[in-house]
């Protein structure tokens, strides 16, 4: 009996040693370790022995069982690893196959700019307001310290609503398509929620159409009003925006200018990226900028008459405002070199899906 068991063990181990494939492995398992396998059969024979012989033989039988099982496990590990290795050796794919782009859509460049710009101003506490894009003359001009005869109010630059040769008129004057986002200034002040740190991004309309000017465009308007707001803070906000949006290496300049609704007024310039602020490329005048500077847009301290129009005491409150062309700002940074700005709103998907 004992010899038979040891014989089984020797035989099993020899067979395991020659097992090479998963199929052979399974066959070997069934042969020796299966429910009706040789080891199970041998174990069954133990029952026929008397008690003493059974004890001795049982001990050996258990040893044999453990040895065979351990050997099988080792064999299994060897065969499985070998099989995996073999499979990998045969697996292959063509890595030059083209990539499959994710099926995402594309936000319009203008939307991307609106999102980014409002995000930058949000960092320094400016909140986004919504104001009409079709508004009263009062908010677009009158309340902004623009006297009746101001050129911007003449019909050749501003669109008016009206029909049959008559301009639509209502409680606060004519109805205009806002030529700038500044109509939001007095409207924001009128809300009576102070202090104000507003950013107003909206559509504007002007009677112009060329490669550089669109009849519909966007502006972003900043307005900050509180007690003791100063020019130095406007300068700070401007610098912060420029460094964040255009890059830390861009220089800024406040250049005196004239606007009716701010006093003092200035244009905000940033250094040109093409000529690096020198005004010259290879000794020839830079075609993009004026003397090394690019105009970003206008700004200034809110005119006392504007504060008054909104119901504030200019001796108590001061503020600053700026209103810049969004498309222009976006083009200045992007380097996309769209030579005709009208391309932006032509809705050509071959253009739109590039961004």
């Amino acid at each position: 009996m004992q010899d038979a068991l040891l014989q089984l063990q020797t035989e099993a181990l020899a067979v395991f040693l020659n097992v090479k494939t998963l199929e052979e492995l399974e066959a070997a398992r069934v042969e020796y370790l299966g429910r009706k396998g040789r080891l199970a059969e041998a174990m069954k024979d133990l029952a026929s022995l008397d008690a003493e012989a059974r004890r001795d033989a049982g001990k050996i039988a258990n040893d044999v069982k453990r040895t065979i099982e351990a050997s099988f496990q080792a064999t299994e590990a060897r065969v499985v690893a070998g099989a995996a290795e073999e499979r990998q050796a045969q697996e292959w794919l063509d890595v030059t196959l083209p990539g499959i782009p994710p099926a995402v859509g594309h936000l319009h460049l203008t939307t991307q700019a609106i999102d980014e710009i409002s995000g930058i101003f949000a960092h320094i506490g400016f909140v986004r307001s919504r104001h009409p894009e079709i508004d009263w003359d009062y908010y677009a001009f009158e309340s902004l310290n623009m006297p009746k005869e101001h050129p911007a109010r003449d019909e050749w630059e501003t669109f008016f609503v009206g029909d049959d040769g008559e301009v639509a008129v209502g409680e606060k004057g004519k109805i205009v398509l806002t030529p700038h986002t500044s109509n939001g200034q007095v409207r924001e002040i009128e809300k009576g929620e102070l202090p104000i740190r507003m950013i107003n991004i909206g559509k504007c309309y002007r009677r112009q159409a060329s490669a550089r000017h669109l009849p519909m465009f966007h502006q972003f308007e900043g307005l900050m009003i509180d007690k003791n707001v100063t020019v130095t803070e406007l300068k700070g906000v401007f610098d912060y925006f420029v460094k964040r949006y255009f890059g830390a290496n861009r220089a800024t300049r406040l250049r005196p200018y004239h606007f009716r609704f701010t006093e003092p007024s200035f244009e905000l310039d940033i250094s040109c990226a093409v000529c690096e602020g020198t005004g010259k490329v290879d000794g020839v005048k830079c075609k993009l900028c004026k003397g090394g500077w690019l105009e970003l847009g206008g700004a200034g301290m809110v005119h006392p008459n504007v504060l008054k129009a909104g119901g504030l005491d200019p001796n108590e409150y001061t503020g600053f405002a700026f209103g810049w062309g969004l498309e222009r700002t976006m083009m200045m940074r992007s380097g996309i070199n769209i030579d005709d700005i009208r391309t932006l709103y032509k809705n050509d998907l071959r253009f739109l899906t590039q961004f």
Partner: protein
Amino acid sequence: MNILASYNWLKEHVKTKLSAEEFAKEFSLRSMSVESIDRLDQRFENMVIGVVKSIAQHPNADRLRVATVDIGEKEVPIVCGGTNLAENMRVLVALPGSRVRWHGGADWTELQKTSIRGVESIGMICAPSEVGLDKVACGDHEIWDLTAVIDAPAGASVAAAFDCNDTMFDIEITTNRPDAMGMLGLAREAATAVGADFIPMKGLSLSKGEKEGSFTVRLEDDRCERYMAAVVEGVTVGDSPWWMQKRLLFAGLKPINAIVDITNYVALELGQPMHAFDAETIAKDAIVVRQGKQGEKLVLLDGKVVELNPSITVIADPEKALAVAGIMGGKDSGTTAHTTTIVFEAATFNALTIRRGSRAIDVASDSQLLFEKGLSPSALPVALARAVELAIEITGGSLVQVIDEYPKARKAKVFPFHPDAARRRIGVDISDEQQVDILTRLGFEVAKKKTGYAVTVPYWREDDIEDEVDFTEEVARMYGYHNMPSVLPASRPPAGFDDASLDWAMWTKKFLAGAGFSEFFSNSMVSVADLEMYGVSPKDALPLYNPLSTDLTHLRPSLIPSVLRAIERNQAFTASANIFELARVYLPQDDGLPEERMMMVFGEYGVIDAENAFMHLRGVLEYFGEKTGIAFTITRDGENDHWHDGRTAFISVDGVHVGVLGQVASDFQASFGIHRPVFLAEINLEALFPFMRHAHQYKALPAFPVVTRDIAVLVDEKIEFEKIASVVRGAKNLVTDCSIVELYRGEGIPSGKKSVTVRVTLVSPDRTLTSQEVDDVMTTVVRELALRLDAVIRG
């Protein structure tokens, strides 16, 4: 508006040794923007005066000749096409290495030694425009004949011969500062900006004239505030001297004759437009300033005939109009070589009248550009005196009469000034003394008062300075914005919050882009055709009073016409795509401003599988609702001519209609010329904003195993999925969901029928279901489907 200013001229009034570049930098920082710097000595580098010695026909070109030109140390051959080329002519020769503008074009190119059609040519004989002097009179295909202009010898450098060792600045003058349009005003500004002394012009005054004159001036139009005239007798009108021509030329003005040049020169120097009449042409020696008469015609200096009307101020004599006030003189009353007596006019006209008048008759001039900015009547005596002085010096003659009509003399403006208020506004500690000094240097008279100061505004700033706050700007800019610190606002946070609708609009755009839709961004202005092609009456859209063109006449009340127009344009290049637009539409109201309603349209064009397109859009909408906490009801109930009857659903929230989802009616698809079906969802986002929230709802995971079973049933084509689903869901309460796996028509399916494979989900909240229980449920489901929908189980 930009002007070209000579640095040498400015330096006659500003005591400075700064280089042109330094000057431009300092000036731009504190005053107005110098947009470019043009060094004239460089512009004329390698250019010399040449004398044409002989001329021969070019052997290989009919229109070209070969000139032998003396350029000083030698004679060189130059090929030239100038039709006026003549022997002994003095010409401007650009030698190799110089920069010229070919035929007066925009770009400067460097000249090379070359051969033209086989003949060597050393340089080029130039026309004025080829060296940047566009305003010099010169015929087409002619070269610049300098014989009478200059007597420098052959070989002399052009820069030296023209005495133009000078730099021209191109400066943008802001509209509030017409005083700086004149060199004197610009110099005053510059002196303060660069911290140098200002050298004023020597005092000028007008005597009453040497003898009693016969001229009269009558003001009948109060839009002329002041009118001064000076009569000068015995003049000889020839060309003006070269020094004057040169200054006009480099400023971009065209020399005409000595008298006209004098008026232009004074305008350039002092910023006050002038005019000169030939006294002979003024009937009865009487000047009348009056409104134009309806239908009255006048031939202008440039030959254009304009029709006048009462909105325009006219200078006339008792018989006829002589000039359009402040805009342009008449052809017949101008000075000529035969003129012996002139009447200089210096007047102040209403700025608005000039601006509107100029637009109305479509005539622009340098004079009009100055007047429409607003000029002071106090500027007249100096300007007139200067013109008379120059006339006597250049054309001879003597002053015989001066007239001054000024019914209501202006008083100087005086405002209080508090340096402390300026400091508060600027945020920098600029001393009282420094502030007063800045104002004084700019020409303001500053007097100390008990509190603060009283500041008298000089006449040349009368229109610009309106209140005390304007002094702050003078102080701030001259102190220098570049000298101020840059400070981030550290004060209280704002009281308001982001506008929720704008946040949601941006969120929605990102959602749609994430879902694979690309954004259209269209003009809000549309044409009548756009509206009518989509069956919208122009009466329901906001009309523009003054549209720019016939294709932009109304503000859109719907996004769909723009979207369809864009689809039509794209279909040739991009056969199908997922697109969206999100924008405000403008809806006319009975009264007041229009409603600005945020709408969104998203969809798919170039659709081949309608069912799939619809399911796709519906899925996007439902997911959008899930993310924003909005439960959309999507039903077939409703009717709308704009949409395909059988392929459209109506969307509502809590019983309120908010949009439509479906196929654009084929009529409208066809009217826009779109080839394949368009499926869109049009949603009134504005109506949803109040209910939108970031919905994150936690649902506990099932505690017991979830079982799914798929069954395929054959039903009539028009049995809607929702019917099947409701039968399945209603069969037993263990059924928690019924979703679609496959829709199949085709081989093996009778026509008019479809095979629908649905997945039934079962779960119990309190136990693991046995397979027997599941089988029982499915038996019930099958029975119910057969009973209620005549469904036949397949396979």
